[in-house]
């Protein structure tokens, strides 16, 4: 039987801006969850998930006048913070201009973490050991 789980059942997180870049911290609830996410949640997987949002400094929809959509290369770098079971993703140029220039409602990427936590994941066999209530926050 296939299990449908999202990232948010194994991890919590937070996102914010750095100019036109955003960072998303994904923090596992358990050591088991962190060990599994280190292999599963690669920078490539996160880049692919957010690919539609890497649109340079322009809008997320084609201009009505020109019909074109400016794109930019997706660049995501992952850092590890094993002491807090954290994976920190830096998503370059994802904010379509950032706090000062973006025309999006979420100019600062405040909601990106919740969006990533909605990602469907291929549940590992021992997923039950990774859920939050297995290890209450100490």
């Amino acid at each position: 039987m296939k299990l449908f789980l999202n990232l948010g059942s194994l991890a919590h997180g937070r996102s914010g801006d750095k100019g036109n870049h955003a960072n998303i911290a994904v923090i596992a609830y358990t050591q088991a969850g962190y060990d599994w996410l280190r292999g599963y949640l690669t920078a490539e997987r996160v880049a692919q998930y957010f690919a539609p949002m890497f649109v340079g400094h322009v809008s997320n929809v084609p201009s009505p006048q020109t019909g074109t959509l400016e794109t930019c290369p997706t660049k995501v770098v992952r850092y590890e913070a094993p002491n807090v079971w954290g994976l920190n993703f830096l998503l370059y140029d994802i904010l379509a201009g950032g706090a000062s220039r973006s025309l999006r409602i979420d100019t600062q990427g405040k909601t990106l973490a919740l969006t990533l936590l909605r990602m469907d994941i291929d549940a590992p066999p021992n997923f039950a050991d990774m859920l939050r209530d297995k290890e209450k926050p100490s």
Binding site: G16, G19, N20, Y79, A81, L117
Partner: protein
């Protein structure tokens, strides 16, 4: 072992104005820090100062200070460290002194400045290119449009001000964490190359710099917050060896989840968190639970600070406006997209940048989260950005007509035409520390 208690009651200009009062009342603090400057706040303050030489600071601080005066009467040793000075710390300090005098309070105020590089920019530019950290472009390409250029100063001038007997330290641009590192350096007399302790205090400063965000605000497991009215503000009890506990004056307090979410907030490489004071290694710290609302943080490691300051530059970059209409009824998303496109076309203008969004239909992560099918109510948001102010003004006049000449179910036009705002773009750069001279002036 000696410990000091430092609490932060303000995370940005616009934050809750009662939080610092409550924190000072309930927190039993040695130091109250108040942080007001986001990346682009300085450009707004620079324009205020341009219009009025006596302005250019975060005015909210003076309101807070006025309301703090009865508490300062009761707590003679409470000290305040704030970057509310913005582009004009001297003017802010003089106004603060008037407020204290009116309340018959004797407090020594110090002004930390030297961060403002705008007056020296042209003299510095030949040798210091202020290359954009993201794009590598040289500042000369936008120099005529620059409105502010500020180096992020560190903890040393704050510690110096305290050593000169200051009770209230008002700074311009300093690194947020340095508001906490400054008093720690002063109290404990740490060496300037005691990187592990500087790192520990920087971790403490980073954790509390956004106020409630470390003690319940934004917490992913928000259902466990019992009372959102008084979420609380954070404080640290920082020991001489650099270890500290962190808690809050109300609300759910600090637990492993709230702490770790904030530890990695707006961080790049957590093993190399750059401040003017130290390169802090966030991956080195150990966390332990003290009680349900208090965590202990210890064993921070640091490495030597770099030889440059980060410089935050803002430059004029055209005009923008953004307006909304509510679209209800069947096919709300289709009608909103149609109305948005029509609105832009009716202006007769081609804008450098434009955006049509359906709020409620996945606009926070466009293209990533698909809108729920069959939505019957969304908010249409249309935005433009262009060098031509008149084109942007023209754009703002096309919202109201859609109420009578758009698809059925258009409403929510009650606040008048959207405002046209000037855009200040952000230009991050570095400058050698040797060319920046931080100054401390204690008011008589």
């Amino acid at each position: 072992m000696k410990t000091i208690r430092i609490g932060n009651g303000c995370g940005f200009w616009g934050d809750n104005i009662d939080a610092p009062i409550r924190l000072a009342q309930r927190g039993n603090l040695d130091y109250l820090t108040l942080e007001y400057l986001a990346e682009l706040t300085m450009s707004i303050l620079a324009l205020q100062k341009e219009r009025d030489a006596e302005k250019g600071y975060a005015g909210d601080f003076l309101d807070v200070l006025g309301r703090l005066t009865p508490i300062l009467q009761q707590q003679p040793s409470l000290k305040i460290i704030t970057n509310a000075g913005g582009m004009n710390p001297a003017a802010c300090a003089h106004r603060a002194q008037e407020i204290l005098q009116k309340a018959a309070l004797t407090r020594r105020i110090a002004v930390v400045s030297g961060d403002d590089l705008l007056p020296r920019l042209d003299a510095l530019l030949p040798e210091h290119p202020f290359a954009n950290l993201d794009t590598g472009e040289l500042l000369t390409t936008v120099r005529p449009r620059v409105v502010s250029a500020n180096a992020y100063l560190g903890a040393k001038p704050i510690a110096d001000a305290l050593a000169q007997g200051a009770d209230i330290v008002i700074t311009g641009r300093v690194a947020d964490a340095s508001l906490t590192v400054g008093p720690a350096l002063h109290e404990f007399g740490w060496a300037w190359d005691d990187w592990d302790r500087l790192s520990a205090a920087s971790v403490a400063g980073h954790l509390i710099e956004c106020g409630a965000q470390v003690c319940g605000g934004l917490w992913c497991n928000w259902q466990e917050v019992a009372d959102w009215t008084d979420i609380g503000s954070p404080f640290v009890d920082l020991a001489e060896d650099g270890s500290f506990t962190i808690s809050s004056d109300a609300g759910p307090g600090v637990n492993r989840e709230t702490l770790t979410e904030q530890l990695l907030y707006e961080v790049g490489d957590p093993a190399r968190y750059l401040t003017p004071d130290v390169v802090a290694d966030f991956t080195s710290v150990s966390l332990a639970k003290v009680d349900a609302r208090t965590m202990r943080v210890h064993a921070a490691r640091g490495t030597p600070a770099t030889d440059s300051y980060k410089v935050s530059i803002a430059y004029r970059d055209g005009f923008t406006a953004s307006g909304t209409l509510t679209i209800a009824g069947p096919d709300a998303v289709i009608k909103a997209q149609l109305a948005g496109a029509a609105l832009l076309q009716r202006t007769g203008q081609t804008f450098e940048r434009s955006n049509v969004e359906c709020l409620g239909g996945g606009a926070c992560a466009p293209g990533v989260i698909a809108p729920i099918k069959g939505l019957t109510e969304v908010v249409l948001r249309v935005s433009v950005h262009d060098r031509r102010k008149e084109a942007v003004e023209r754009f703002t006049k096309e919202f109201a007509p859609l109420v009578t000449s758009g698809p059925p179910g258009v409403t929510g036009y009650t606040t008048g035409r959207p405002a046209v705002r000037e855009v200040f773009a952000y230009w991050p750069a570095l400058v050698e520390k040797s060319v920046v001279q931080a100054t401390v002036e204690v008011l008589p």
